[in-house]
């Protein structure tokens, strides 16, 4: 069997795919968080950042398709691995006891992952495709424009974020989505390093401690935005 065959068909190969795509997605998630936190620097910072991200549609689509490939492979590997795992124990233990020493996060990776995927779809329709029907504000996000310092018309991301999160139920869904993502990563980060073969005797203990810390950083970083908006941040932009 060649490299590709082994990678896609063997158990360890599939875990390598899962981990490598997971690494790409984790890096994106952290980058996205840092980018988003610029909302606290005011409209100018976040709107200029959004303009920068959109400066080349070709490049943007390359990144988008790359992300889509990562997500596709990640989910494909997840389903493959889960199906094989289910078959591996046809008769279970009496009373189905929770396996010793396992965490809730580690036992629910598929479910948390699927809910996060659903959340990501909503998030894309909400702020990227900007479907008016699902933002529940009665206003079209696509129509929010402002003039940059150079006098060029650009999308007013700041206003969109404040408006979007001013709906409590939408904000709540974001908190739940990001919470599940962090739960997923509290186990996923550790498992990723394990599958990539880096969780060895030497650096294993450090990574095991670091994984939940990073998951918390991610959760607090992302949740701070809807939370701040709910507490009144940026209210003046809506007038």
């Amino acid at each position: 069997m060649n490299l590709i065959g082994r990678l896609f068909c063997s158990s360890v190969g599939k875990k390598l795919i899962m981990a490598a795509t997971g690494l790409g997605l984790v890096l994106f998630v952290f980058g996205h968080m840092v980018g988003n936190l610029q909302v606290f620097l005011g409209p100018e910072a976040i709107n200029r950042y959004a303009e920068l991200l959109h400066f080349s549609p070709e490049l943007l689509w390359v990144v988008r398709l790359g992300m889509l490939t990562l997500i596709g492979l990640h989910i494909w590997a997840a389903f493959q691995v889960s199906a094989e795992n289910r078959v591996a124990r046809p008769v279970g233990y009496d009373g189905s006891p929770a396996p010793v020493e396992t965490t809730y996060a580690s036992r629910t990776m598929l479910m948390s992952g699927l809910i996060v995927a659903a959340f990501v779809i909503y998030h894309l329709l909400h702020y990227t495709v900007r479907v008016e029907a699902i933002n529940f504000t009665g206003r079209s996000f696509a129509d929010l424009k402002e003039l940059s310092e150079a006098g060029v018309e650009r999308h007013d991301v700041f206003k969109m974020v404040i408006l979007g999160f001013s709906k409590p139920l939408v904000s709540l869904f974001y908190v739940v989505g990001v919470g599940l993502l962090s739960l997923h990563l509290s186990h996923g980060l550790r498992a990723m390093f394990q599958s990539l073969g880096l969780l060895t005797h030497r650096c294993g203990p450090l990574i095991r401690k670091l994984a939940p810390v990073l998951a918390w950083v991610l959760f607090l970083g992302y949740v701070s935005i809807p939370l701040a908006v709910m507490l009144g941040f940026g209210k003046e932009a809506l007038n």
């Binding site: 490299l3 063997s10 691995v81 078959v87 591996a88 233990y93 396992t102 880096l198 060895t200 294993g204």
Partner: protein, 248 residues
Amino acid sequence: MKVTLKVWRQQSPNSAGRFETYPTPDLNPNMSFLEMLDVVNDDLTRQGKEPIAFAHDCREGICGTCGLSINGRPHGEGRGTATCQLYMRHFTEGQTITIEPFRAGPFPVLQDLIVDRSAFDRIMQKGGFVSVRTGSCQDANALPVAKPAAELAMDAAACIGCGACVASCKNASAMLFVSAKVSQLGLLPQGQPERHRRVLAMVAQMDREGFGNCTVTGSCEEACPKNISLAFIARMNRDYAVALLKGE
């Protein structure tokens, strides 16, 4: 002391199994779990009933033959002990103890609590060895081995192949076993020439046997009577990734 046993009884590999409940005769709390089963079997024989079939051999925790799932936990409570090293004093008077065979598709039940673990043997036959010229002994220290590598190799070699890792894993994955067997040779100079071929072949056989995948839950490490570390799985994953790129 007396306890109540809820035991999995199964006549043959293809017959349907079921739980039977037996009250035990009076037990000495310092009996091992296997000695308790001996006493119960004596009692069953006296009553004209079929004794409970269970696997056992050395009864001192080094052979890996015994293996029962006790209250849903392979080898019962306690870290780093096999079923034979579990004592009745760890249970309470009158407690109901559920005893099941190790549950996994690749470990079919032969009878009652005995499972067929020859899947492990077939994995070993694919690469759990070094192909060296046999003959007279080599001079001592002709092959220098660094102390840390020797220690780590010994930690991996402590695996007795009992299958508790498979039994405890929610996915019935054999990764801890295979990684220990891959690492015990991969860490030593004698194992280097076949290092890549070994990991590829053993993982391929593990997959063929139908074991599940590792999802890093860590229950195998907890159930292992020899405290084999999860870090060996990481080591095997790395060996596998390198072997993928370098080929056999």
